[in-house]
Symmetry: C2
Subunit: 134 residues, 2 copies
Amino acid sequence: VNGLFGGGNKDNNSEDGQSKAGIFGNMQNMYETVKKAQMVVQVEAVRVQKELAAAEFDGYCAGELVKVTLSGNQQPIRTDITEAAMELGSEKLSQLVTEAYKDAHAKSVVAMKERMSDLAQSLGMPPGLSEGMK
Amino acid sequence: VNGLFGGGNKDNNSEDGQSKAGIFGNMQNMYETVKKAQMVVQVEAVRVQKELAAAEFDGYCAGELVKVTLSGNQQPIRTDITEAAMELGSEKLSQLVTEAYKDAHAKSVVAMKERMSDLAQSLGMPPGLSEGMK
């Protein structure tokens, strides 16, 4: 039975028929390999996302009068305002809360980027590409 | 002068030589096209990132006693704690601040995902892929 790509005539064209089948055969394998690689990347990315969602990062304002906790994907979890902070009045306290949130947000983003970069390298991707994984 | 891929012998193999050159030629063009597409995606992604960084999203706790403003990439910008909120004490106020931050964070993330999804579609990518653009 002739293969899908014909190649029935056994004269000097068969070598050409086989090279074409070879090329298409390789493309098919390459396609399967890429598909599998995508699956692995997706499964790993989901695992890392869950890990980040469960992680906690604490941020503080100057003097640690306010403490803020965010998850590894920057979700707000908890705010702790001390009595001492309350005595500074609403305007000053608002600034301290923003400061603490900025601190926690920065720590959370740094940790997430590191985690994504580790993941990209463990999957054999060039370091630069991990930026796109964020 | 023979082309890079030889093909000097003019007997019935020339058709095979040309098909090989054709295939490699096409692959070269495809490579150039993919390269250009990547450049366009990168330039557009940077433009959208800047747009998001400049955008502002306000979040509130119940009763709007606390208002929080985040950027389009979830950076904390401003917190506004009202006098009425101050009177509720540090524990209750801490909860209201967290609530307002969650509200602002959710709005910011939704807007960012929509913007990324629009970008992906404008670049001709299938909608599902935009998830990876986040």
